[in-house]
């Protein structure tokens, strides 16, 4: 058991009733994570996606969460205030059942990192551009029991996904081959 530790929990509050479906959050997210920063944008790379279906008046902004290897065994549907929602609408996973939260070219999983930056931003970019206040930001302090798992780099998360798909050996072979061909 680790010591009790204080931890800042970053929280984006989503008020789906206020969402106007403009997708400014998607646009700015993809631009912030471009390299160099803001050099391109592409909502398909965004780590937040707005599901919207005006004819049913369904508006659900969702953030990219953890990568998952396998999809759910079944699908549930929720009815809230008389409107039917597919459970997947709320799901944050980058998952084999859909193309959401994956890089469109490589298929690598995407995950919201709260726009971590040095120096830190006051608020994640999606919150900053949401002038209709569907997205708002809060930080709160929490006490946590165990040692925090070391934070993994994006690269590591991506590599692990590739390893899961192709096997460690194949990835290592490929990297070695590419390294050799680069040298030539």
């Amino acid at each position: 058991m680790g010591e009790k530790k204080k931890k800042i929990v970053k929280q984006i509050k989503v008020d789906a009733d206020l969402c106007n479906g403009c997708r400014a959050c998607e646009a700015v997210c993809s631009a912030f994570h471009a390299s160099p920063r803001y050099s391109s944008n592409n909502p398909a790379r965004s780590r937040i996606r707005v599901h919207f279906d005006p004819l049913r008046n369904l508006y659900v902004p969702v953030y990219a969460g953890p990568y998952t290897e396998s999809e759910c065994m079944g699908r549930d549907k929720y009815t809230i205030d008389g409107k039917e929602y597919d459970e997947c609408l709320f799901c944050r996973a980058s998952c084999p059942s859909r193309d959401l939260f994956k890089e469109p070219d490589s298929g690598l999983p995407l995950k919201c990192d709260m726009c971590e930056d040095d120096p830190p931003l006051e608020e994640p970019m999606c919150v900053q551009v949401c002038l209709v206040d569907a997205l708002t930001y809060e930080e709160r302090e929490e006490e946590v029991e165990e040692e925090e798992e070391e934070k993994r780099e994006d690269l590591e998360v991506g590599l692990e996904a590739l390893i899961n798909e192709y096997g460690l050996e194949k990835i290592m072979d490929t990297v070695a081959r590419m390294a050799v061909s680069k040298e030539e």
Partner: protein, 665 residues
């Protein structure tokens, strides 16, 4: 690498069923920028003036603007250009929404459609994969319904769809292209789309859009967002509430319709109802609106909520998305006092794909002819007696082109001439064969006179902007000009400070004509710039003190595209585009005699003075007495090839400003 634009167009020939991806010439971007500008260049080069709008040789160009899809707030407009079956001139229509940004993410700046498909088809653009698909099963379907069915059959919920409804299929001259919460409505481009057998274009894109100087560009975007917040908290003082903010008029959010219902005309642009807006009515309309509007919605990458999701149980889709002013156009034209009627008929008309400005006017025109005995029960069997029922009756006839509907489907100008029996006299509110704003005023406004007369965009809302529409109350003037950063010239501030409702500094003989010309040019030019960038007029050329203006737009364009650009260079591009479009229309026969605002637009008119205004404005623009750009003007703008063509056709005389004898005849 190309920045901000993709550098590729799609060329689709529906007669041959061919699709090509064509790289564009960056030199054209430097000269015409994009959107409307490059559309006009394509139409000049490839559609000779004898080509009829419904000919397979007419082109239909669906374009993005050069900033569409970038982080620039509100850069999302689709600019559709072709030749109008109604005016026979170049058709101007733009719409917001999500379509053009998606097209750029798919890797294209424009889709250029030519030819004519033997059967009804739709186009499916999915990144590099583009196909022409059968649309037989979508025939007669509503515009929203079509979009839904296409997304379902492609299993692509994120595909953006633009589509025509029954009106476009049946070539109603004022049929629109519909795209969810937006539509390109003016000039009958939906009819041209129908004539090509093209029901819809669906697009899905997942590619990057690149920016030349990212840090600089992002900083500018942030400034615009900040200014929008500032303007939200600082409405303009001394103007009606509807003009005090930015965005499209906030018709979905605002209940107070006193200004529109009491200043604009009812029926067939005839009657002002100054006592319409009572407190009971205000209560009732507020209740109806609150029951109907379920959510305020926006276009791509814009926080302004100019649209609304409207629920209506009697509509086939139960809900639709309403754009600002169609809430009132049907209500007022039908002399229906009930806002609920407006929500219902606007929803139906949108499914059929009809222009929300022209359609109600055509129907009111028919009602007037019926009441005056020019149209009879023979023409309109079973014509109901109630105002609202009459409009539903006419709507149905028009979109099906059934009976009298077949004539009315051509718009007021053509219908009046087809009906005859004195119906021509009822054509009192068109300019260049196109229905105009339903507003009737007292004293001639010389600035608006020039805009109505010479505008080729037909809709005054696509020409006017940035200026208060009446003198500001004295106490607000100093404050107004203090932070009026948008003006290109300091003299414009002097004008606002001096301008009075009557006396020495009042219309129509003040201000000096040269200043009027500059004020007209400024207003119109900003629209021409927006139509190249794809930025919404609601954030730029239309409202007073908008976040985008002549001083920051060149920086946006330059940092996004990497091109050198300053205010003078941008002004020159807008001037080149505006002049080219004038030449396109001159080549199709537009002349001075067509440049007339509706005769009853103002009660007090001054024919000689108006002629002088027009003379001076033409001179100021470098056009001859017939309103045709002179060879010298064209040469200066690098449009030598245009001048040569006009001379060859005898429209311009060689090396002089006056028109040749032939064209004057």
């Amino acid at each position: 690498m190309r920045y901000a634009e993709t550098g590729f167009n799609l060329e689709v020939d529906l007669s041959r069923g061919s699709i090509e991806r064509v790289e564009t010439d960056p030199g054209l971007t430097e000269l015409y920028l994009g959107g409307l500008g490059t559309n006009a260049k394509i139409l000049w080069d490839r559609v000779p003036p004898e080509v009829e709008p419904f000919s397979p040789d007419n082109l239909l160009v669906f374009s993005s603007g050069i900033l569409d899809g970038t982080l620039a707030t509100g850069a999302n407009r689709t600019i559709i250009s072709t030749f109008s079956p109604q005016t026979l001139l170049m058709a101007f229509s733009m719409m917001g929404g999500f379509w053009a940004p998606e097209l750029k993410f798919a890797g294209y700046d424009k889709v250029i459609v030519r030819g004519k498909s033997p059967n009804l088809v739709y186009l499916w653009i999915n990144n590099d994969k583009v196909e022409i698909r059968d649309a037989g099963h979508l025939q007669g379907k509503g515009s929203l319904e079509t979009a839904e069915l296409i997304r379902e059959e492609l299993n692509e919920p994120k595909a953006q769809v633009l589509a025509i409804g029954l009106a476009g299929e049946n070539r109603v001259y004022y049929a629109s292209v519909e795209h969810g919460r937006s539509s390109a409505s003016r000039g009958g481009i939906g009819a041209v789309m129908g004539s090509k057998g093209l029901k819809a274009i669906a697009v899905r894109g997942t590619k990057d859009l690149n920016i030349a100087r990212p840090a600089e560009f992002f900083e500018l975007c942030q400034e615009v967002l900040k200014y929008m917040q500032y303007r939200a908290n600082n409405p303009i003082k001394g103007v009606p509430p509807i003009l005090a903010g930015i965005g499209s008029p906030q018709e979905m959010a605002i209940h107070d319709e006193k200004w529109h219902t009491t200043s604009f005309s009812w029926g067939h642009a005839r009657e002002r109802r100054k006592d319409f807006w009572t407190s009971e009515r205000a209560e009732e309309w507020k209740r109806t609106q609150e029951q109907s509007v379920e959510r305020l919605i926006s276009c791509y990458n814009c926080p302004m909520r100019c649209g609304g999701i409207v629920g209506h149980p009697e509509l086939p889709t139960h809900r639709y998305m309403m754009k600002c002013y169609s809430k009132l156009t049907y209500v007022m034209a039908a002399m229906a006092d009930d806002l609920e009627f407006g929500f219902k008929i606007a929803g139906l008309a949108q499914e059929y794909g009809l222009d929300g400005y022209t359609t109600p006017q055509v129907m009111a025109f028919a009602v007037e002819l019926y009441e005056d005995g020019i149209l009879t029960d023979q023409d309109m069997p079973g014509f109901p007696s109630g105002n609202e029922e009459r409009f539903f009756y006419l709507l149905d006839k028009i979109v099906r082109r059934e009976g009298i509907g077949d004539v009315l489907a051509n718009g007021v100008y053509w219908a009046a001439r087809q009906i005859g029996k004195g119906a021509e006299a009822y054509d009192h509110n068109t300019t260049k064969k196109h229905e105009q704003m339903v507003i009737k005023l007292g004293m001639l406004n010389p600035i608006y006179y020039l805009m109505y007369a010479t505008g080729e965009k037909m809709s005054i809302t696509q020409i006017e902007g940035q200026m208060p529409q009446a003198p500001l109350p004295k106490e607000y003037r100093e404050e107004f000009v203090k932070d009026w950063i948008q003006v290109p010239k300091e003299e414009f501030k002097e004008f606002i400070l001096k301008w009075e409702p009557r006396g020495e500094y009042a219309f129509p003989f003040w201000p000096p004509i040269d200043l009027m010309c500059e004020l007209v040019e400024w207003q119109e030019t900003m629209h021409y710039i927006d139509d190249c960038t794809g930025i919404c007029a609601g954030l730029s050329s239309f409202p007073i003190k908008p976040p985008y203006h002549i001083h920051n737009l060149p920086k946006f364009i330059s940092s996004a595209t990497g091109m050198d650009m300053d205010e003078d260079a941008l002004w020159e591009i807008a001037k080149r585009n505006r002049t080219l479009i004038r030449a396109i229309n001159a080549r199709r026969g537009l002349r001075r005699e067509d440049e007339k605002p509706p005769e009853d637009h103002w009660k007090k008119r001054f024919p000689e003075y108006e002629a002088k205004l027009l003379d001076e404005y033409y001179k100021f623009k470098g056009w001859n007495k017939e309103g045709i750009p002179t060879k010298e003007t064209l040469d200066k703008l690098g449009l030598d090839y245009v001048g040569e063509d006009l001379v060859r056709r005898g429209i311009l005389a060689d090396s002089e400003a006056a028109p040749s004898e032939q064209s004057a005849a």
